[in-house]
Each structure stands twice: as C-alpha cells, then as structure tokens.
C-alpha cells in the first residue's frame, strides 16, 4: 500500500507538472533520459514512454495544437533515414527529447527536435526469424530490446551500451521474438513467437535492474500432452490497469496450426485474452476470442482499456478487434463478455455462445480439397494498432475484408503449420466502430491489398493513419473525411505516435525504412 500511495503522490505531482507544461511552452527540464514508474502511469505530453503511449492501449493523445481546422497545413519537420532495408514496424518511444525505435537487430536513438542520430546499436542475430520488431521498452535509464534469437538486452539509454543480456527462450527449439516489452513496476514482461514448431507460448517477467527471472506464465500445457495444443504465442505488448493491478495480454493461435484434430476442445489458453497479476504471473481470468482456432488467427491485438458507460452503466472495459473478424467488449474486472460482433466478412462461425465467444463451424476447418474462408490468414486486422477516441466513443481499426482458401490433409501431419493457406483477395478499410453497439459509424477505404497502418486519435478530433499506397492520412474523427495527406513512398507497417516538444506538437510515422516527423509550420513560416 505504501508503494501505491507513493505512486499516487508521484502521479499527482506529475499530473500537476504535466498540466502546467501543457498550458505553457514548457522547456524540457528532465535531460537525464530517465523514466520513472510515475511517468509510465501518467505520461506527460512530451513523452511516449511505452509502445502504446500509455498503459491503456487507447493510442489517444490529449494534444490539441493540431486540429481539423489546421491539419491541412501539416508539413514535414524532419525525416530520419535508417539506411537499411527492413520496414519499420516499431512505435518509437519518446522520453526526454530522444526517440528510440527499432527494426530487427537495430536500435536507434534520434534527437526528436532535429531528427539527427545520437547513437545506433546493432547486434547481428544469425538465428531467429527477422520478420519484424515492435520497439523497445524503457525504465529508468535502460532500454529493453528483444532480439530474433530471444535475448533481452538492457541498453543504457544515454549511449546504447549494453547493461545486461539475458536469454529468455531457446531459438534452437523454434522460438523467436519481435515484441516491445511491457514494464510494470520493476517487472519487464517479454513474450515469444514460434508457430512452426509445437511449442508452448509464454510470458516471462524479468527484474528491470538485474534481468533475473521473476515468474513465467505458460499459455498451454507442455508439448506432448495428449489432446492438448501448444502455441498461444505472446507476440504483442499487453496493457495494464494500475487500479486493478492486472496486466491484460492476448495470446496467439494453437499449434499444429491448420490441423485441429490432435487438439480437440477449446485449446486454452490459445487465442485468448488473459488477465494476470503482474507481481506473480498468476492467471486471474481469461476469455477466448477464437476457441479451437484452425486459421492462424492470433488474438494478440491490443487489449484496449476504456473506462466509460456501457448501456447506461459505468464499466471498466477491455476492447479488442481480433484477427478472426470479431470485435469484443469485455468487463475487464471479471472477463465477462459485454458485446461480441463482427466488423467485416466472417464465414467460419456458427454464431456466438452464451459467454460471447464465437463457435467455430467444423465445415470451415481446413480440408484436403480446400475451404473458402473469410477473412484470410492475415486476418480482419493484425498487429497494426487500433485507437479508441473517448469523445466520440469510436473504436477505430484498420480492417482488411478478405477471402482465402485453407487446405489440410493427413499427409500434412500434425507438426507446425500442418497445411497450407492462400490469400485470394483483400482490401483495406478504416472502420469507426461504436463500442456500445458494434455498428460501424463510418468507413474510409484505404486501398486494394490492405493497409498496414495503425491508428492514432487526438483530443482535437483527428485520426492519423495511412493507406495502401503509402499516403499518411489525417482524417476527421467524427466523419472519417480526409483533412490532409502526404505521400511517403511506402505503406506504413507501424502505428503512429504523437507528442509535444518545446511547444510544438509532432506526429511521428514510420514507413519503409524512414521515420517521418510531421508538425505545423512555426510562426506561419515554412518548417525550420
């Protein structure tokens, strides 16, 4: 309790400081590149201290300098060229004037004012899939960086030197890692990937200072358990409610992936949203967006935490737009389902059960001669972040209506992928979902093939995202209409962030191998 009281006092103090900062062009006083728990609990406007921006996962900025009225004047403040080929899939962190972002094997520290590089850390990993990287976590003066070969490296934020290096999964067994660790108190929580082997997914908490293992939560029984799945990979970053002291995490699909026969039943806790105690790793409740999944539809999309009314009653909610095409609203205290609805074409279910969980249609499991499935394997949405806008009550997601064919036959076996699937067609649509009804209030088409852009919303009524042609878009949150765009030459595969620095609001997006900072011109002149 004492720790909580101190945290509250810190939080209150930080809130007052942050409030003062937002009214004046507050100079950056904290030059130490340090991040305390209080800042994580209540991020000041001149920060983006974790992957989601804050623990709620709403990816909603309180900043109002850029508005629907002036967004048409947005221009490039600076661009940072990484000079390498991997697409940026990370959300940068912004702490004390420095941006930290990643691609597999690389971390850059960039001066957020000028876009110039401060340091660059490169650790060549010869094992593990280099499919993408979501960014670093941060606490005090350390960054936490996962590697494809499942090391967690603590780096000194000042200069990118290594503080410690811990292995948290065995790459030779088939694990790899891409995620941005979640820091809660002194817990650095990391997750794993690994769909090509029959491996249990898990979360591990390491001590922020020493890297010692504190706890591990396993998503499935051990490999080889009769009639049980493996999998449940913990691909993405969870969210945290400090009042309830619960972390919320989505887990990935079961293995074998396309063959459900060796693992009858619901396959807990794969494709699940779980609530864990961050101090012990103990499971408090679970809900399953995709029971007995046979289509690779991870339920790892952001578990967005929203406090608000649901049908006239105040609720602490958790919302997820899931890969399998369903949008869920849960009570995050108990895990009880409040609303389950589809947000695009879905043809694989027989409906929804009394708990609000979908019922998979056995006729739509992968078959030797193929089954037409909506959505495709990439899903109705994927790792690109959604955003919740409290003013309009809209949950805004970059959706991918799509169709595919899925195959599995006995010769494909029961190990790893165990089948084959092929996308036929898809497109991208930004959808604004009314969270109380599931109705889609507006749609904004973003192109054939689909867009990889995440969504950010702001208090002034802006929605920032991107289309499939490489345009960054500022939309009006109320109507979905385009207010501004800029062609960046490559589609976004990451989610935008927003912060204020020296009295100027910046929106930062990454597309291709370049990081872009957008802002209004200063004093009506061209960007300095």
């Amino acid at each position: 309790m004492k720790l909580l009281r101190n945290r509250l006092a810190f939080a209150a103090g930080t809130l007052l400081f942050a409030a003062w900062c937002s009214f004046s062009a507050c100079p950056r006083l904290l030059m130490a590149q340090d991040l305390e728990s209080a800042q994580l609990l209540n991020p000041p406007p001149d920060s983006w201290p974790l992957y989601h921006g804050d623990y709620s996962g709403e990816r909603h900025s309180r900043l109002t300098q850029i508005t629907p009225g002036n967004a048409g004047d947005l221009s490039l403040a600076w661009a940072f060229q990484t000079g390498q080929n991997a697409d940026i899939k990370s959300s940068p962190l912004l702490v004390d004037g420095v941006l930290y972002f990643t691609v597999p094997d690389h971390v850059w520290a960039v001066d957020a004012l000028s876009g110039h590089m401060i340091w660059h850390y490169y650790r060549r990993s010869t094992k593990g899939l280099h499919i993408g990287h979501r960014g670093v976590g941060m606490y005090k003066g350390w960054l936490y960086f996962t590697t494809p070969d499942c090391h967690l490296i603590a780096l000194n934020a000042k200069d990118g030197t290594v503080y410690w290096d811990k292995v948290f999964a065995d790459v030779d067994r088939g694990y790899w890692s891409t995620m941005s660790p979640l820091v809660v108190g002194d817990h650095v929580i990391v997750g794993v990937s690994g769909d090509f082997d029959n491996l249990p997914g898990y979360l591990r908490s390491l001590d922020a200072e020493t890297g010692d293992t504190q706890w591990q939560w396993d998503a499935t029984p051990p490999a080889g358990t009769l009639n049980s799945p493996t999998g449940g990979m913990t691909w993405m970053t969870g969210t945290y409610d400090p009042g309830l002291n619960l972390v919320y995490w989505g887990t990935g699909n079961p293995t074998p992936v396309l063959n459900g026969r060796p693992r009858p039943g619901n396959d807990l806790y794969t494709c699940s949203i779980v609530a864990l105690n961050p101090d012990t790793g103990k499971l408090v409740w679970s809900f399953q967006p995709s029971p007995h999944d046979t289509h690779d539809w991870d339920a790892v999309e952001t578990p967005v935490l929203v406090d608000g009314d649901f049908h006239g009653r105040p609720r602490k909610m958790l919302m997820q737009a899931s890969r399998n095409g369903y949008f869920f609203v849960l009570d995050r205290t108990t895990g009880k389902g409040l609303l389950t609805t589809t947000f695009g074409p879905v043809n694989w279910s027989l409906g929804v059960d009394a708990q609000g969980e979908p019922i998979p249609n056995p006729e739509k499991e992968p078959a030797p001669d193929g089954r037409l499935i909506a959505p495709d394997e990439g899903g109705l949405t994927n790792f690109r972040a959604p955003s919740f806008d409290p003013k309009t009550g809209l949950f805004i997601v970059d959706a991918h209506p799509s169709y595919s064919i899925y195959f599995a036959k006995p010769a494909d076996g029961a190990y790893g992928w165990a089948g084959a699937d092929y996308g036929l067609w898809g497109k991208g649509v930004i959808e604004a979902i009314d969270y109380e009804t599931g109705k889609i209030r507006w749609r904004h088409e973003v192109g054939p093939g689909g867009s990889g852009a995440g969504v950010l919303t702001t208090d002034s009524g802006l929605t920032i995202t991107g289309d499939s042609a490489g345009n960054v878009l500022a939309l009006d949150t109320a109507s979905g209409k385009t207010l501004w765009h800029a062609g960046t030459g490559s589609g976004m595969s990451s989610s935008p962030i927003c912060y204020e620095l020296d009295g100027r609001e910046y929106i930062v997006t990454g597309s291709g191998s370049v990081l872009f900072a957008w802002a209004l011109p200063e004093n009506g002149n061209a960007t300095r």
Partner: protein
C-alpha cells in the same frame, strides 16, 4: 617495357577476377562437394532469418507464402537468375518485400532451394497437389457456370476460357478462377473542360487517377479536379465470395479442368 609488362599483368589479373566474379554471379561454376554443402548451409541460415516466416522453414509454404518446392519458377530456373530477380524485386502485390542480398547470398539461397526440392518426398508435401482438387462434379460445375455463378455473363468455354486448363493446373487454376490477379480495369476520366479520356486504369489511390490511353501514353490527374468512372469486371469475382458454397467451388474446378 617494364610498364607494358605491368599493365599486361594487371590486365590479366583484372580479366581473371572479372570472369571469376561473373561465373560466381551466374552460379554456374561447378563446386566441390564441401563448397556446395557450405552454400546450402549458408542459404539455410539466410532463409530461416528472412524467408521462413512466409515460405515455411522447409520452403514448403508458411504464413501466406507459397510452397517454393512446387513453384514452376523455382523448379525451371537452371541458372538461378529467375529466383534472384524475384528476391531482389520482391512481389509487392503479394506483400513479398525486396531483399538487397549479395550475389553470393543469392547463390546460397538457390542452392538451399534446390536441396529442398531434392529432399521433398511426395508423402511429406504440404503444398496442394492437383489430385487434391478433384472432389467436384463436372455437370454441377457447368450448371453453376451458366446459372447461379453468372460466369457466362463474361466468360465462354470456347472463347476466352478455351484451353484454360492447359494454361493453368491445380492450385494455380483454382486461385485464378476465384480471383484472377492482374486483371485489367478501364477508366473514363472527364476533365473540367468536359472532355472525356478513356483507357486502361494504370493507377488509382484516393488522390491520383491515371490511365494508359489508346496510344499507350500514361496520363494522370488529381482526383479532386476530375470526375472518373472505373469499370472493373473482376469485381464480379469479389461479389461471388459471399455467395459460393465450397461445393460450388469444387464443382466449378471440375468443369474448368475439362477445358483443355
């Protein structure tokens, strides 16, 4: 005389190096067994890091990526150049990124793929064999083609689809039947003057529309300055997605496979 000798020596060296590099780049130099094994091993490592996520760890298909051991392009590529071209350019329409690998790296990937093709046994295959796709009924497929499917509105078994099953087989035929990637659309653009220009749609996003006119010239306009109407016959395939039963699809496949 000394200078000429030196120049000759340098020239000989340069030509030797150049030809050695050229031979290496073409991947045709015969390699001793241990060098070949080294290339496969290096290719395996590179493949696991960069390709396995989509193409599977054994190159037989993974998340969204096809089984390379059954790929016509891979199997017919005797020099490695076709594979190199795809790896270097990517396949943007299919979400495959471009990879800036060196000639040696690409050689190692080619060696690895060849080893995978050799190792793949029929019973192990996780790809889709034409024999997997023979569960439909020809008569029912023909009835669907001419009836509920509406295919005969645009297609003819003696016209555009004559010989289709000779041109495409198995999974490739079924994929094209369900959605033919690369199908062209046309567009008519009306300028503020009232003049209308028509052509093949060359580019379209929210802000720019472009066509190739009858002469093949590329022309583009801001979408907020013109009116435009796109005619995309391929959209009929998309409309069918929500209407097909799986039996309809298998029956259609059975029918199309008679059009040899």
């Amino acid at each position: 005389m000394k200078q000429i000798k030196e120049i000759s020596l340098i020239a000989i060296l340069a030509v030797s190096i150049a030809s050695a590099l050229a031979v290496q780049a073409a991947g045709q130099a015969p390699q001793p067994a241990n060098e070949a094994a080294g290339a496969v091993s290096a290719g395996n490592a590179l493949f696991q890091q960069n390709c396995a996520f989509c193409h599977g760890r054994d190159a037989m298909g993974g998340e969204t990526g096809p089984d390379l051991t059954q790929s016509k392009l891979v199997r017919s590529d005797t020099t490695g150049e076709k594979i190199a071209a795809v790896v270097r350019a990517g396949r943007p329409d299919n979400k495959m990124p471009a990879f800036n690998f060196s000639a040696q790296q690409i050689d190692s990937l080619v060696a690895y793929l060849r080893a995978r093709i050799a190792a793949a046994r029929a019973g192990d295959r996780r790809g889709v064999d034409p024999s997997d796709l023979q569960t439909g009924n020809v008569a029912a497929g023909m009835a669907y083609f001419n009836g509920a499917g509406g295919c005969s509105n645009c297609h003819s078994p003696t016209g555009d689809l004559a010989g289709i099953a000779t041109r495409y087989q198995g999974l490739q035929l079924e994929e094209r039947m369900l959605y033919p990637k690369g199908a062209k659309s046309t567009v008519a653009v009306t300028l503020p003057s009232g003049q209308t220009i028509s052509g093949t749609l060359a580019y379209l996003d929210e802000f720019t529309v472009a066509l190739r006119d009858s002469g093949g010239t590329y022309r583009s306009w801001p979408t907020n300055q013109v009116k435009y109407r796109v005619d995309a016959p391929v959209d009929a395939h998309v409309t069918l997605f929500s209407k097909y039963t799986d039996d309809d699809i298998h029956n259609l496949m059975a029918y199309l496979q008679t059009l040899r």
